[in-house]
Symmetry: C2
Subunit: 502 residues, 2 copies
């Protein structure tokens, strides 16, 4: 065995320990949300803090640094897959070693304080209360960006943590296109005489029946029930990886669509994790590419498939046989309008498919201008409200739950995170048209309850590659072009024109 193969195997063995410990941490988090009794929190905090300290030490160890150095000069003898693993481990190693431990610890303290204040300030809708802590967090985040390094603006370094090789400039361009299409589309929809009837979704839907339907849908779209679970938690999420991926949801007895689409969304995340190449378990090649590409999978299943007409042509009769009284006489057309109802909500997490991106764009633009020094913390409520008016045509009733303080992200220092959500939509749009070319009679197949070709296409073109290709190369291979907005904009326009007879 040549030296570089030996070095590679050593590197992988080290990284795998880090990765296995990460999978343990994932299980502890899942358990904390879905299973843990109340008084277990002290013990759990000790467990998580020990493991995260160990993981940081493992990833930033001198041994990994030396192996990466050695592999730098000799990597041409490795296979392409091995080189991709080395590249990705180097990326993670550099990210982890660039920031001084003291800064990480200071950040962690300030985040906790800021989060506490945020909870109170949000409840009281008092931005002045929140501002000083937010200011501190933003300064620390900007300091982290300096350590991480960037070309144009500190936000680039922050975005890269969630979406490698994406930049502020790139998102500005993409989002300008989406905005230019969606703002007028929203106005046309609001002016349309077609209105959704939604009363039948507000009657009583027993949670245990919702769960049964959810499980049926999971199985039918291809979630491997031998490699995962469905449980209940306050905030729905997906955790785990190959062989064991668990999703959670919550059940609102007066809004069954929340759990149903939540389950489809999380199943999309889960099927990505279930679909990576198991031979590479414990290495970057068996990890998801980025937050944005992860979101492309959840959104493709939730919105493109799950809120589509062919899907409900198949599932509505089943839903009606479970909820006979509640859905008696509801026609497919009524149902489609009800689950795709567009409205001007001030709250992101309640937004429909169309307006969701406008919420994201607003946040992204504020982050961009904040880190470019064009606006300051004290401007946030004003800027927020004026953009709300401009993009969604509404003015939030307050700065708390309906306004600038509605999201948890900023209090925790997660700047650069929001754009991933919309990147997921744009990527999903591009996958959607590409798979329609590849899959004959895709609509007819969905109408008959057969989703296997869709899952197969995603497996082959996205899941199996893990972090092997960078995002644009993945998009190029899967769809013939780098990430753009055309497909997504066309999809939205087609969909809503048909629904609202525009």
């Amino acid at each position: 065995m040549s030296d570089s193969f030996k070095d590679y195997e050593e590197l992988i063995a080290k990284y795998k320990e880090y990765s296995v410990l990460g999978s343990v941490t994932g299980l502890l988090h899942w358990d904390m949300q879905a299973m843990m009794p109340h008084k277990g929190i002290e013990r759990r905090t000790d467990q998580l803090s020990l493991l995260s300290g160990m993981m940081h030490k493992m990833l930033t160890s001198e041994q990994i640094g030396e192996l990466l150095d050695k592999l730098d000069s000799s990597s041409n003898t490795l296979t392409e897959e091995m080189r991709a693993n080395v590249r990705e481990i180097r990326h993670d190693y550099q990210k982890a070693t660039k920031i001084p431990v003291e800064l990480v610890e200071e950040m962690s303290r300030e985040q906790s304080l800021c989060h506490e204040v945020w909870v109170k300030a949000r409840e009281a809708a008092d931005f002045q209360l929140f501002a000083p802590n937010l200011e501190k967090v933003v300064k620390l985040v900007a300091k982290m960006a300096e350590y991480l390094g960037y070309k144009d603006t500190p936000l680039d370094a922050l975005i890269d943590q969630f979406e490698p090789d994406a930049t502020t400039a790139m998102f500005t361009k993409l989002f300008d296109d989406v905005k230019a299409a969606n703002v007028p589309l929203l106005k046309k929809i609001l002016a349309s005489p077609v209105k959704a009837k939604r009363d039948f979704l507000k009657t009583e839907y027993p949670p245990e029946l919702q769960k049964q339907i959810g499980l049926d849908i999971m199985k039918q779209i291809g979630f491997d029930m031998e490699a995962g679970r469905l449980d209940t938690s306050v905030h729905p999420f997906c955790a785990g990886g190959t062989g064991d991926v668990r999703i959670t949801t919550r059940y609102n007895p007066h809004a069954p669509q929340q759990a149903i689409f939540g389950i489809i969304h999380e199943s999309g995340h889960a099927m990505y994790e279930q679909g990576v190449n198991r031979d590479f378990w414990g290495t970057p090649l068996a990890e998801a590419l980025s937050y944005g590409i992860h979101e492309s999978q959840s959104r493709l299943w939730e919105n493109f498939v799950g809120r589509g007409r062919p899907f409900w042509k198949h599932f509505l009769p089943k839903l009606q046989s479970t909820f006979g009284t509640q859905l008696a006489g509801v026609k497919l057309d009524d149902f489609m309008l009800a689950i795709n109802h567009v409205e001007q909500s001030p709250v992101r997490v309640e937004a429909d498919e169309l307006t969701y991106d406008l919420h994201i764009i607003l946040r992204f633009e504020i982050e961009r201008d904040l880190f470019a020094g064009k606006i300051s913390i004290s401007d946030l409520p004003k800027v927020w409200n004026s953009k709300m008016e401009e993009y969604l045509g509404i003015t939030p009733a307050n700065d708390g739950k309906e306004g600038v303080m509605q999201d948890v992200h900023w209090s925790g220092g997660s700047f650069g995170y929001f754009p991933s959500y919309s990147l997921g939509n744009m990527a999903a749009g591009q996958f959607w048209f590409a798979m329609q070319t590849a899959i004959p009679n895709m609509d007819a197949k969905m109408e008959s309850g057969d989703f296997s070709d869709i899952l197969h296409w995603l497996r082959e073109n996205v899941h199996l590659h893990g972090r092997r290709f960078k995002r644009d190369e993945l998009m190029q291979r899967a769809t013939g072009k780098p990430l753009g907005t055309a497909s997504y904009i066309k999809y939205l326009s087609d969909k809503y024109s048909a629904l609202y007879k525009l």
Copy 2:
């Protein structure tokens, strides 16, 4: 701060990491039995093997060795509790460092092989198939005993792993007493004209109702539901520690007593863990004393409380209101006989309270004579069957599930484990009489559904001490004498004389 306090704190910090990692391992095991999807096994194996390797490294680290050496000479400045922690950590450290890693690895391989062969040999009831592998395991176990060190016989070293400071000679003496009392008692019971009617326990008891009753009982006897859970698994067990202790059971629709007593048994284990001193979490002072004392808690609740007349005077009406048809017209006397029915079963896990110890004594005597060189592996079936005849008056139908190969323990090298079970019974007997002196009207309290004084007594006298005192000191403090058999023998004699009118 003096040097020895500083050394102590360093030692505790190191040990706590080991302990916290152990608690993570416990959760992974719980999850594997109670939650994990089928295909998660590969991932779980990687996780467990990484953590167990890390734990071994942590416990046997040079740093811990050096700190223990330093504390040896200066420990007189520490408090009594601190000295107890140092003593117990030294015990664990020595146990872990005495055995060479190669032997542990060889043992682990041979155990796996032997376990595989045992499954087949047990099914085929073919001891010849099992013997060569068992021989190898016994040789390795004997080798381990040499490394661990002992005074009289290798079995002493093995027993010490589960029950520190217990010896073969000690168990021989205790068991001779129990045998001398129980063998004649069993004969008298079998000759009694009183016979249990058990048909009403064999009708249909829906599992979800069994679970409801189980939860009610758990809460009533003092299991803290905010610091634990009840789930389902193939083999019932208890896992976790302070703040988060989880038990499992299984439900047989045609034998509700199995789940009910299983739940009470595991709750006994769990309440021990819930009752340790939380201030010491992560140190030996917040760990259970030994396997035997753990078992004293489960058996005290299961048998002394749970199969007693006062308990059912309170709970039978509740049980009858849940299972109206199934238990219609069943009198307390009938019920007591049914759940305390004594029979000559060849299978340990199906044995009743009285005959259980005879199964244990038989196994202990075989282990004792095997490691003393008085019998050989090939003698095992013959010796087994002749002792079965002598103690229980029956001859097993085969060497497999009904005979010498029924238990998993020996295939995994767990020699010296069995006596802990009976030690639990003897200790429980002694606690039982001691608490009756301390608690006025204990029967009347149980009859009214009040078990708080019992739990309180156990908390104060057992749980809160963790590993602070050695077993005999604990027994002396709690009951006024070291571990003996008199209380237990009296308890059994009183109980069965009343039930069977002897």
